[in-house]
């Protein structure tokens, strides 16, 4: 127990403070002790996905002993090479079997046998306040939280770079940036205020509406190749688009980051919302109830208090079809 007793030097009253031990907090070791058995079981059926050992960008669920693995689609768009890191520390190159934009899921295949895999339950009986848990920190920890709001669909808000443009006089070359969203796609790619965008995906841009025409049809997770002018130095960079809602609501960094949010956070036909302390790299992993039933796939880290997960009923029948089709193709 950490306690601070800050006595004043004058005759003032004593002010005492005491904090609850980290271990005893909701996601502390003592509370999570209740989930120890589930932790080892969950770790065996999970994998990390990323191009390098120290760059694991997603989690995944092992669906079959012969290596079909399910993960979030958006972050795989720009991932090269596509690799799977198993809980025993080994690595396997993955083949992309299917990427489904609507569900935001990607099915991968690695050449392995005898893998432990996830056993699925049902999610229809879940109610708000039901405990839920998932692996965090690349499988190192269990994370605990609750179903926190009504089950629902999340509408599409479109994709943006997170840039506000200055008014420009006609005839100018390029479009000047007035402001970039804190921690938004443009800022993460290195763009900043006063830079002048000259080309997007090899098309010249001279006013904000030209930028809108190019970005409009694109999706969160898509890469836009940007050429820009900056005083002293011109450059180019890749901007990974993000959902408009997530960028606009967090324009000034109001969310405190708390380890960041996913690029795509909307356009889902049905989600379960929960408050687990997860990171974007935990997306694609399995959401369990505390009895160990797999009930959903974590699909979007939205903000400090919000994650979305796709209920098992929404994707599993379709994903099993993809596996079936792939097996038949191989025969």
């Amino acid at each position: 127990m950490m306690a601070w007793f800050l006595g004043t030097q004058t005759a003032g009253p004593i002010f005492a403070q005491g904090f609850l031990d980290d271990e005893q907090r909701t996601n502390g070791a003592e509370t999570l002790g209740a989930l120890a058995t589930l932790h080892s079981k969950a770790a065996a059926g999970s994998a990390c996905i990323g191009p390098e050992r120290d760059k694991k960008l997603l989690s995944g669920a092992i669906l079959s002993p012969d290596g079909y693995i399910l993960t979030k689609a958006t972050e795989t768009l720009s991932m090269k090479p596509l690799r799977v890191w198993l809980s025993d520390g080994s690595m396997a190159d993955a083949r992309l079997v299917k990427r489904n934009e609507k569900l935001d899921l990607a099915l991968l295949k690695i050449e392995r046998t005898g893998l432990a895999c996830v056993s699925w339950g049902e999610s229809l009986s879940l109610r708000p306040a039901q405990w839920l848990c998932a692996l965090g920190d690349q499988g190192a920890k269990m994370r605990l939280g609750v179903m926190s709001a009504n089950r629902r669909a999340i509408a599409n808000s479109g994709a943006v770079m997170g840039i506000r443009f200055a008014r420009s006089d006609k005839g100018d070359v390029g479009v000047q940036i007035e402001e970039v969203a804190t921690d938004g796609p443009a800022e993460q790619a290195g763009l900043r205020a006063d830079d002048v965008l000259v080309e997007l995906n090899s098309q010249k841009v001279n006013d904000p509406s030209a930028v809108k025409r190019i970005i409009g049809p694109l999706h969160p997770g898509d890469i836009v190749k940007v050429k820009y002018k900056r005083v002293g130095k011109d450059g180019d960079c890749d901007v990974k688009l993000a959902s408009k809602n997530r960028v606009m609501l967090n324009w000034g960094g109001e969310d405190f980051g708390n380890h960041g949010t996913s690029s795509r956070t909307d356009n889902y036909s049905e989600i379960i919302q929960h408050d687990l302390p997860l990171k974007p790299s935990d997306m694609g992993g399995v959401l369990y109830d505390v009895q160990g039933h797999a009930v959903a796939i974590n699909i979007a880290r939205v903000d400090r208090v919000t994650n979305y997960a796709l209920p098992v009923e929404l994707f599993l029948p379709e994903v099993l079809k993809w596996i079936q089709e792939d097996r038949e193709k191989k025969k």
């Binding site: 004043t8 030097q9 009253p13 403070q17 904090f19 909701t26 003592e30 926190s148 405190f256 208090v305």
Partner: protein, 317 residues
């Protein structure tokens, strides 16, 4: 620190800290908590409303059948303001802000007369009965009203208990301000007030300031506690580091500036007490009276020195 609002002022007083026995929770313990929350959740959600006031979105909670609503003072700012209230079913009504206590961030609103009776929740009056580690749950409208989503639940534990303030690990964000913190019996124990950067730094106004000034606030008056000698101001913000608190910004004409503190200085201790987190520093200052002199041990590139700072009143703006 980034506030969702102004900083709460803490009355200096003694809070008994019980030594908690280390005990691993079991699955049954967790499921008991789940059952308790679920048994009172529907009732609690019916009383939690979304507010729109001065361009911002926030939350509130109905505490009487006549439609008295508790919220945070930084939400309403003044008595007599019109506030748009969205009820859990999506219907909107106009409420009027009543009195408030800006020092502790406590405020009230009045809904229009009910057709029959407003759904409401009960206040926990045993403020001293709360213990560190007690399970609790928060409700609010983070990011504003969302009809399909409804109010958003967070379940967590009490991490710190002060005279006028509770800290929990129920994670809050913008829009949650004025929302509610409940015990497992479904009684109101706190009003969401502000957050620090850390996920577990979520602050709620306790029921103490409300209970103390209930009638004054209900009458639409502004509660003042400045004359009680607390709420001193130094005029810096700090960030935690391994060796102490690093000064991030010094306010012009503040006590800190007059004492020569600069950006990048590290505060090692305050009156010989080491401080681990910015929140502890802020509260140690707020617990003192304007005019009091504190001694800071400050480390700069040139070495360590002791700096005496005479605290002042926070300026009006």
């Amino acid at each position: 620190m980034t506030g969702l609002c102004r900083q709460p002022i803490l009355f200096a007083c003694l809070v008994a800290v019980a030594q908690l026995r280390a005990k691993e929770s079991t699955l049954d313990d967790l499921l008991t908590v789940q059952r308790q929350v679920q048994s009172v959740l529907d009732q609690a959600r019916k009383a939690v409303v979304a507010l729109e006031c001065g361009g911002g979105t926030a939350s509130g909670v109905i505490v009487s059948p006549q439609g008295l609503v508790l919220t945070a003072a930084h939400v309403t700012s003044f008595p007599g303001k019109k506030v748009k209230v969205t009820l859990p079913g999506g219907k909107t009504v106009e409420a009027e802000s009543l009195g408030l206590d800006t020092a502790t961030d406590a405020a009230m609103l009045q809904l229009p007369a009910p057709a029959k009776a407003w759904p409401f929740i009960t206040i926990n009056r045993e403020v001293r009965g709360l213990k560190l580690g007690d399970w609790c749950f928060a409700l609010g409208h983070p990011g504003g009203w969302d009809a399909a989503r409804g109010s958003v639940l967070r379940v967590g534990k009490l991490v710190k208990i002060s005279a006028n303030m509770l800290q929990s690990d129920c994670v809050l964000m913008g829009g949650d301000s004025g929302g509610s913190l409940f015990n497992l019996a479904g009684e109101l124990i706190g009003i969401n007030s502000q957050i620090w950067r850390g996920r577990e730094q979520n602050l709620h106004v306790s029921m103490a300031p409300f209970l103390r000034s209930w009638e004054t606030m209900k009458k639409g008056e502004i509660v003042s506690i400045w004359n009680q000698g607390n709420g001193a101001w130094i005029g810096i913000s700090t960030q935690g580091s391994d060796d102490g608190l690093v000064v991030q910004a010094v306010a012009p004409d503040s006590p800190a500036m007059k004492a020569g503190l600069k950006d990048g200085d590290t505060i090692v201790s305050l009156n010989n007490q080491k401080l681990a987190e910015p929140i502890e520093f802020t509260e140690a200052i707020l617990a003192r009276a304007a005019g009091e002199i504190v001694t800071l041990k400050v480390r700069t590139a040139k070495g360590e020195r002791m700096v005496e700072v005479r605290l002042a009143k926070r300026p009006k703006d």
